[in-house]
Amino acid sequence: MRAVREVGADACIFFIQVGAILWKDIRYELRSKQTWLGMGMFALLVLVIFNFTFDLRVDNKVAVAPGALWVAFIFASLLGLSRTLAAEREQGPMDRLLLCPVDRKAIYLAKLLGNLLFIAVVEIVALPVFVALFDVPIFIGQLLPVVLLGTLGIATIITLFSVIAATTRARELLLPLLVFPLIVPIVIGAVRMTQLLMAPAANEPPWLGLIIAFDVIFLSISMLVFQYVVEE
């Protein structure tokens, strides 16, 4: 009984720590507003550029639009998130955080949630613009679970590797090189799911299941190995 209570207390402390780090990051971002604005503008620009690069017509819209949406999300996340963590490692907050007696898993989870929140804000802005610009027959409410789960998978990998890439000189270059090959399943699954919402088809493989499996597997692995990434 006592052991159970101790485990409960540990879990409680763990989530308090996660909340504290997350709140710190949110307040920092609310003051500077650099990441959100930059990422959001970038995502919108990618969507606009895609309109020009693929001469959009009614017959190819369903094939092109989901790809454009996800490329915008992924590029914006990669660019924005590589900056936040790099600044943290260079200017020192990360070192101070590591000095605190905080579970490394809590740090990872807080960073992941913060990154998810950044991307979510960008997505909330970009989704209606996407629907308007591409004029696609889609209901945003249906798309939300796919966007959320896909973003979780992408953010899991990006958070882990942006900490690694942040220590190198060529982080803006290195991060996409490491992340893109790893998130191939998410890219395929999310784009195909988005396409299916626009033009339903029968006998599709369980894409959502694949995305959820990816999320669970890599969230667990990242939580386990994060301590080796941050410690020198």
Partner: protein
């Protein structure tokens, strides 16, 4: 004080290095001889012993190179990940040298897989490339190898670099089967050429040739591993000595 301490540690490293060096030429010699004999035999078998494929003709012979090289390329990534896991657990530098060696050789082999596969595909299916699961997984594996080597060269020889490499290898090795599955599902809707080895009714001479080729390329891989491992060890040692001098 610190300098003397470092010097003794290097001397110590040097003495263990000598011990390893004594064992090194013998293993290297045996593996080198075996793999060169094996590869010569394999080449003879591939071009003279194995029967000519009735449908595909001579280009089919590239299959005897392609499959063993692909096997070594995959094996190398598994060894990379296992070495990474053991490094994380034991923190023994030698496992990191093994991982680096595995990545360098694996990249070479996977590159040859893509090249030989493309040539074979061109003659058989009439196209250099198709987004088949096996091909796509090999290509992604190639990108992972390149990413790994770039990461390691950017981060230098610090402990953090070894940890980062191990993490990348672990995540990568779990990801490859998922990528394979997702590409398989993705292409499931489209009529794609059934790629791969003809599974049924292989004549015994084909199987024998393939086996000889597989064994010889694995021997070649282990021979190269010994060489590159030694190179990694010497590079680490040289860098430590340079740090003392500077």
């Amino acid at each position: 004080m610190a300098v003397t301490k470092q010097e003794t540690s290097v001397e110590h490293q040097g003495s263990t290095g000598k011990l390893e060096r004594q064992g090194f030429p013998i293993a290297s010699l045996i593996l080198g001889t075996l793999s060169s004999i094996g590869i010569l035999t394999a080449i003879w078998m591939i071009f003279l012993y194995a029967p000519l494929d009735a449908v595909e003709g001579p280009p089919q012979r590239i299959f005897y190179f392609h499959v063993p090289i692909a096997w070594v390329g995959m094996l190398s990534f598994c060894i990379l990940a296992v070495a990474g896991i053991i490094y994380i657990i034991t923190k023994d530098e030698r496992w990191d040298w093994l991982a680096r060696a595995s990545a360098e050789i694996g990249l070479v082999f996977i590159t040859f897989v893509l090249i030989t596969g493309s040539i074979w595909g061109r003659t058989t299916w009439g196209t250099w490339w198709t987004w088949d699961p096996k091909l796509t997984a090999s290509l992604i594996l190639w990108f992972m190898y390149v990413g790994y080597i770039m990461l390691r060269s950017y981060m230098g020889r610090a402990t953090s670099s070894a940890y980062a490499g191990a993490v990348l290898a672990i995540v990568g090795v779990v990801d490859v089967p998922i990528i394979y599955l997702s590409v398989q599902w993705w292409r499931g809707l489209h009529p794609s050429a059934e790629v791969g080895v003809p599974q049924s009714a292989l004549p015994p001479s084909v199987v024998l040739t393939l086996m000889v080729s597989l064994v010889s390329f694995t021997l070649l891989y282990s021979f190269l591993m010994v060489q590159v491992y030694q190179l990694q060890r010497l590079q680490a040692l040289a860098q430590r000595l340079r740090a003392i001098v500077e």
